[in-house]
Symmetry: C2
């Protein structure tokens, strides 16, 4: 039986692969695990039926038999633990790949996500320009550190891992900002992730949902 994930019926990013189901789809494609998708309206996400699966009323969730999970990072980790291809076999390399998963979500994503939110919610506030500048300063600090670490490597620590998968999805949210391009190695890193066949299949699958909803 294939696992079932949830996704937006109509993603606010217009099918650009920024919603967090993209990470889970990509991980499932990397390991060759077929999956089902249940689409949810914004209203349905906040209803009790979905809240029993996701206490914070968000997407994605993951159901597999009587196991139900939420949080994209945890779902990607669950997939990575059960299939080859997303975590190295060597114990030390595996621990470092997991470190990058947490670094992507807890150190790099927060200011990047905050910037996206501020651009939607605070655009008309008196503090907007100054706040955006402060957020971009924090982001640039993280990007500088990350670029220095990546150096001329293809991936963050040896072979492609779930840590790269999460980091690429986090960095993609800067598309159009010009900030990634200040570090050519980071722009190339994101492009390297997007060029993976599994990424492309996942991207097309989530885009098809948006296209269908809009037609």
């Amino acid at each position: 039986m294939n696992p079932t994930i949830t996704a937006f019926e109509r993603s606010p990013d217009r099918g650009n692969g920024l919603a967090r189901d993209m990470r889970v789809r990509w991980a499932l494609e990397e390991v060759g695990q077929p999956y089902e998708v249940r689409l949810l309206s914004f209203k349905a996400m906040k209803e009790p039926a979905h809240r029993t699966l996701h206490p914070f009323g968000q997407i994605p969730t993951y159901e597999e038999g009587d196991l139900a999970l939420f949080e994209s990072g945890a779902i990607v980790f669950h997939i990575a633990e059960r299939h080859a291809g997303l975590l190295p076999g060597d114990a030390h390399a595996r621990a470092r790949a997991i470190t990058w998963m947490f670094a992507a979500l807890n150190t790099v994503e927060p200011p990047i996500f905050e910037r996206s939110l501020a651009m939607i919610l605070e655009r008309d506030e008196p503090w907007y320009e100054q706040r955006l500048g402060a957020l971009e300063d924090s982001i640039r600090k993280r990007l500088g550190d990350l670029s220095r670490h990546l150096d001329d490597g293809d991936w963050l620590d040896g072979a492609f891992s779930a840590g790269d998968l999460l980091m690429v999805t986090v960095l993609r949210r800067l598309n159009g900002s010009g900030m990634l391009e200040e570090h050519p190695n980071l722009a190339a890193y994101v492009a390297r992730g997007e060029a993976r066949p599994a990424y492309k299949r996942a991207f097309e699958a989530q885009r098809a949902v948006f296209t269908a909803a809009s037609s």
Copy 2:
């Protein structure tokens, strides 16, 4: 050989256990693993020697033989995987506990941490009250969801786990805000965490560093 972690030589929270080494200390105490601590000045944290351990120039790090990790969530997970006591043995319960680790760090912590930052960096801005109000609205949404999920349970999913350990450290950052007390079950949950003998040992150990630095 005991693992070595890094911590602030002089923690900006004045020994209140909010720095992220507290999570790692608590996890090590829960599993009964002795550890060494290397203290770092703010200057030393940004120097190349430390950056080879932590690309973002922060604390804590974790060194054990030739393994070097960073990110408190990843270090807690590493400890939890290698010792009994922080993750359930049952595969489904284990996956759910890991879900709560990610939920603590990626869903609940960001607005709480933003609030702390704003209270330091934006206090004198003309928009401070309005911005603080917006952040507290986001935090209250998360707390309401979390309180509803916790209900009358002792912990987030059955027995105490690494998910609770991280969530308690995240929620403690609201001490003094009055927001936790709006949900008596959450205030009791945090108190339950703080009452654990391992928590108390970890707290005293990090406080002793600040006390020594200030005397």
